[in-house]
Amino acid sequence: MGSQKAEIRLEELEAFLDEALPATRMREIEEAIRQDRNLAEQLRLIIQRRDSGAVSIAEVWRRHRLSCPTRETLGAYLLDTLPTEEARFVRVHLERVGCRYCLANLADLQSRMEASQEQKEAAQRRCLRYFRSSLHHLTHSGDP
């Protein structure tokens, strides 16, 4: 992704606004916006265009995850059991298009596959903490 540093494409600015790019790319764009007034202006124009009711193909495609592989497909990608052409599509989707949602799913699948007993117990404790602290909201959800 080294060549991407030199250029920030309009489609990436759209994704940047939606928190949809990988963390490293998000930081690069943040830094570039601080230094480049033209880029900040481009971003402002995108917001203005959205505000006036316009939508773009890039924005809709990414936000609605229209070409995201399923989690099952990502699992098969990890296990290297996908047909060659499909595996290349998944790789392009992850590494070139930089789908943050699929990268998160992939990282989660990988960490579950490789988790030690200690890590599994830590995950269970986390879940229990989330559960206990949200139980009140569950029992009152939908209440007026």
Binding site: R126, L138, S141, G142
Partner: protein, 248 residues
């Protein structure tokens, strides 16, 4: 592994069982592979997911605990690289879950649960970053520019105009989702993975024809042909929508 009908047949998964299913059933048979390869799985919830939501709406603690077990890992993986702090990321996951419960009365069952959770997580993250120094320094460097700021032109308009714009945008977005979804489903059904990757590079990634050709190891002419065909098909869909009285 014997094919059990794929993951769509299963109703509830404890975290571990779901992982095993996800990692093995994918290669069970071509028939089921095609079934859940469709974007319908991503864009529309499985029937089991709707049952799941109903149980949570009925305040079933077991269903709620299962939802947390299934989704917390991917939410944490979505948030942590961005905030670079484990404790903050965990707090944001917590806020995402409580945010989900608060939004439950308004949750549209036709939406994907995972997409909804990621959308809440992204909003919580943006709120966090807005409070963080990052946005303050961007503001300082660009004479008051702020990501969340509504542009001047929009603020000058009345509330009804803004509402009209939002409504127009929602309708346009729904139409594009339908059209694009149909086209991309067709490519998946035909196993046209290189073509799909090419279109994604061009229309989502913003890569030039030459760059897409290099990445995929195909000719620029092939890229140009696929791009032209895709644009023509989209145009035809939009014209048909106009004829049906849909304004775009």
């Amino acid at each position: 592994m014997l094919c059990d009908g794929g993951p769509t047949r299963q109703v509830f998964y404890p975290g571990k069982l779901r992982d095993i299913t996800e990692l093995t059933v994918r290669s069970c048979c071509q028939r089921h592979r095609r079934n859940y390869q469709s974007s319908a799985v991503v864009n529309r919830p499985e029937q089991s997911e709707q049952v799941f939501i109903e149980r949570i709406r009925a305040k079933d603690p077991a269903a709620w605990e299962q939802l947390i077990t299934i989704y917390e890992g991917r939410l944490l993986a979505f948030l942590e690289p961005r905030v670079e702090d484990r404790a903050t990321a965990e707090d944001l996951v917590q806020e995402t879950f409580t945010g989900f419960l608060r939004s439950l009365p308004h949750f549209d069952d036709s939406r994907s649960l995972e997409k909804w959770l990621f959308a809440i997580a992204a909003n919580k993250l943006k709120d966090h970053l807005r409070r963080d120094r990052r946005v303050q320094s961007i503001e300082a460097g660009n004479e008051g520019y702020e990501f969340s700021q509504i542009p001047v032109a929009a603020r000058a308009r009345g509330p009804s105009t803004i509402l009209d714009s939002r409504e127009r945008r929602t309708k346009r977005e729904a139409l594009l989702v339908t059209i694009l979804g149909e086209e991309l489903d067709r490519l998946r059904q035909n196993d046209e993975w290189t073509r799909l990757a090419c279109l994604e590079l061009l229309f989502v990634g913003g890569f030039r024809n030459k760059e897409a050709a290099e990445i995929l190891g195909i000719s620029e002419q092939q890229v140009a042909n696929w791009k032209h065909d895709f644009q023509s098909r989209l145009k035809r869909h939009l014209e048909a929508a106009r004829e049906d009285g849909v304004t775009f």
